[in-house]
Amino acid sequence: MADPVWVVLVVEDEVPIRRFLKAALEAQGFKMLEAATGAQAIAMTASHNPDIILLDLGLPDIDGLEVIKRIREWSHIPIIVISARGKDTEKVDGLDAGADDYLAKPFSVEELAARLRVAIRHLSQSRVGKDESVFQAGELKIDLARRMVWVSGQEIHLTPIEFKLLAVLVRHNGKVLTHRQLLKEVWGLASEEQAHYLRNYIHTLRHKLEADPARPVYLRTEPGVGYRLNLTE
């Protein structure tokens, strides 16, 4: 079976960015649909059923956050938001509203490709309907079913909360998770007030899993946003 052609809907009002995205996406084998406004984006999502949406949050008509919420009412389609620089809260709001990942302008083709790869991997997994339970990257091996973790073949002991945190990150491998999302999924906390719990656990996880915790390979910090687990073979 030939690889499917993934359809990406780009929602962006700036023509130069659309032009650059078209070149970049088509060179990598994607099919690109274009929308310049939020209304158009919602309409095209319904009519063309794209596989992935690249959504610029600064749209001329509707607020990008509103677009996310409206689409999320009926679709789980992966949404990658593109945010203007310096607007950390915008990114976080977009992610908390249901977007899957973000790209901050200006971004390189490489970053774009990485985000798309992650989205596609998650898409494929959910389509195939198979949840992997063993993940391996470099020296790190995680078995979610058996609740075990190894670094360089050595089993590492994790506390239940550490493991739960790691498991959440593993399930969203490659995607950014905001502080709020992690606090909610791991601790059931709704506010960000307790973000320092999270920081403490990430800190100890890094010391247990990373060779050099100050230059983390797996557990990446996205300053002002959250964390991203980076398990790639």
Binding site: D88, I202, P216, T221, G224
Partner: protein, 652 residues
């Protein structure tokens, strides 16, 4: 022509006294001054004799003086022994052309015996025209204030009598050993002491008693008022006269001393107020200081009122209890005083029935506000009477308060102007710095892109690749610049609220290192973050920029492949961080300035981005309450050190 000039220069002076006719005199001179369009002075000379006048009369003099002032005169009080001499002196100083005085009303014999000030005036005035106006006393006007019964000071008479008894006792002790004249001396001493301590009345009584006692007890025949020798009659007469003169002189000294003491107290009070005003900033605090001083000096409740937008007044400082009843009516009297710029209320011509005295605060151009004074006991003579110049003193206090308020206002305006100028300067230097920093990469990008567009066929594959890399690098530089600009404008404008959260420094360093992963790939990097390092309150996203900027600077200014180091140490209540390289280091003379370059915007803009990046670092570090400084490491290479306090008093 000469006449016109003279008219133009006409200056009138009216002599004001306690006489009930002064009132008429003042009004007459006012009309004269108005018709001549002349400046006019109302002068009251306070000589020791005035101090002896009944309180009511002294107050009438002040009342007259104030009337003159209200009618537009410059009111002056002089002190001196000779009324005429003081007036003529003053008139010459101020180039007064005409002096107007009232005709004295006292009995003619007094004038012949003691001389009259008007006669002296005529004699001394020289080329200044003197006019004497006769005034019949009008039916005494209802003088609303300042008439209070004089308190008789019985204790003074008792004390005087005590001195007399003491002298008599002493005389008995001396009698066996001394001649009679020596005893006279003892009595005279007692008279003088009485005059100084108790005033004139007791001293005169003492003089009389002394002569009687001396005669009765010591002059032969003793124990009788008769005398053997006629010469003693002369002795008694002289003794009585000397005693009178002494008591008179001594009481004059006493009054002068009292006047001086009063003057001194007022000066001290004025000084204290002015010192406090000089050290006080803020309208409210100035008014509070004024209220406090005035209420202490005058023993009354005081409130400071300022005008509101609606044509009323409001209590800005002090004791709102000043207004016990009728606050609406009282505030309208206050507003009247404010609008007219003249005292109103208790004891003045305007609304004298009010229990409160309103004193306007006159600044150079306008009245700023009003002080409201409610005497604790309006009947008390303490308040106005014994120190007759209290109202005028109050006015000068008010002027001083107004001046302090004016200075405050001017200072505020000046400060605002300065801030505006500073902002403007910063904006200009930012603009020039940014323009330069933007232009360079843009020129490189446009140049490279246009070479690719126009000369594609001539450029070899290698050169084309180089152009493309150039475009990418310069665009990246632009991007970094815009990021920095965004941060600095937010920090500078104060619109950026730090989102400080406790976090491991490691996390911030890690984020920056992850972001620079590729550029740092060929650099040996030592990271030394001791495990005992506590969590630090940081805005993670901003703090990351410190490391990004410092590392990027090091990458730019040090040879490829040379080592970098990041280290942190716990030092008491703060964490000290160092980012170091092994490059050429900073020019030693620049060490103090490198964080300023962006602010100055003058020197060496050629060092691209260097200043801006470091100024951002400083802005971020300082926003966290830390310090940042640069040094050259002894082993070579540059280092930037900065601190983050672990406890920040004001969590923003």
């Amino acid at each position: 022509m000469a006449d016109i000039l003279r008219l133009a220069g006409e200056r009138l002076l009216v002599c004001v006294g306690p006489s009930p006719t002064s009132d008429k005199l003042i009004r007459a001179v006012k009309e004269m001054a108005a018709s001549l369009e002349a400046e006019w002075f109302a002068v009251y000379v306070e000589d020791p004799r005035m101090l002896r006048l009944p309180e009511a009369e002294r107050n009438r003099a002040i009342y007259n003086l104030r009337l003159a002032e209200q009618l537009g005169a410059t009111a002056i009080t002089l002190r001196g022994r000779s009324i005429a001499a003081e007036i003529v002196n003053f008139a010459r100083q101020r180039q007064v052309t005409r002096i107007v005085a009232g005709k004295p009303l006292r009995p003619r014999w007094k004038g012949i015996l003691f001389g009259s000030p008007v006669d002296d005036l005529l004699r001394l005035s020289g080329d200044i025209e003197v006019r004497v106006i006769t005034g019949k006393p009008e039916a005494p006007k209802v003088t609303p204030i300042l008439i209070h019964p004089k308190r008789i000071r019985w204790p003074s008479y008792e004390l005087g009598f005590g001195y007399f008894l003491l002298a008599t006792g002493l005389a008995f002790l001396m009698y066996p050993y001394f001649d009679l004249p020596n005893l006279i001396m003892v009595y005279l001493l007692a008279v003088m002491v009485t005059a100084v301590h108790c005033g004139r009345g007791p001293a005169i009584l003492n003089s009389f008693l002394s002569v009687l006692a001396f005669d009765f007890c010591f002059v032969p025949p003793r124990w009788s008022l008769t005398v053997e020798e006629a010469k003693y009659i002369v002795t008694f007469a002289v003794m009585f006269l000397v005693a009178l003169v002494i008591s008179h002189l001594a009481s004059v000294i006493r009054r002068q001393a009292e006047a001086a003491r009063l003057q001194e107290r007022q000066t001290a009070a004025m000084h204290a107020l002015s010192q406090q005003l000089a050290a006080t900033r803020g309208v409210e605090k100035i008014l509070q200081a004024a209220v406090q001083h005035v209420s202490e000096i005058f023993e009354c409740q005081v409130a400071a009122l300022l005008p509101d937008d609606k044509g009323g007044m409001y209590v800005a400082a002090g004791d709102p209890g000043v207004f016990q009843r009728d606050i609406i009516k009282e505030l309208s009297v206050a507003r009247g005083a404010y609008d007219a710029g003249q005292m109103a209320g208790w004891g003045t011509q305007t609304m004298p029935t009010s229990p409160i005295l309103y004193v306007p605060l006159p600044a150079a151009k306008a009245i700023i506000g009003v002080l409201a004074l409610r005497p604790k006991d309006p009947e008390s003579e303490q308040w106005l009477l014994p120190e007759q110049l209290r109202l005028r003193f109050l006015e000068s206090l008010a002027k001083q308060v107004a001046m302090a308020l004016e200075v405050e206002r001017l200072e505020k305006t000046a400060l605002e102007t300065q801030v505006a100028m500073e902002t403007e300067r910063l904006r200009t230097s930012l603009l020039s710095s940014v323009t330069h920093d933007l232009q360079t990469p843009l020129a490189a990008i446009m140049g490279s892109a246009s070479s690719l567009l126009d000369l594609r066929s001539q450029l070899g594959a290698g050169l084309a690749q180089e152009m493309l890399a150039n475009i990418y690098d310069e665009a990246e530089r632009l991007s970094r610049l815009v990021n920095n600009l965004l941060n600095i404008t937010k920090l500078e404008s104060g619109s950026l609220k730090l989102r400080k959260e406790l976090q491991p420094l490691e996390e911030v360093v890690g984020a920056a290192l992850n972001r620079l992963e590729k550029k740092l790939a060929d650099r040996p990097l030592t990271i030394s973050l001791p495990p005992e390092l506590p969590m630090v309150p940081l805005d993670g996203a901003l703090a990351e920029h410190i490391f990004l900027n410092l590392l990027e600077n090091s990458l730019k200014y040090t040879p490829a492949g040379s080592a970098l180091a990041i280290a942190a140490l716990l030092k008491g209540e703060e964490v000290e961080v160092e980012v170091a390289d092994c490059g050429p280091g900073f020019p030693p003379e620049d060490l103090d300035k490198i964080f300023d370059m962006f602010y100055r915007g003058t020197k060496d803009l050629e060092q691209k981005g260097y200043g801006l990046g470091l100024s951002i670092c400083r802005a971020i570090v300082e926003a966290h309450g830390g310090r940042i400084w640069a040094l050259n490491r002894p082993e070579g290479g540059a280092a930037i050190r900065f601190t983050f306090p672990l406890k920040v008093p004001d969590q923003q």
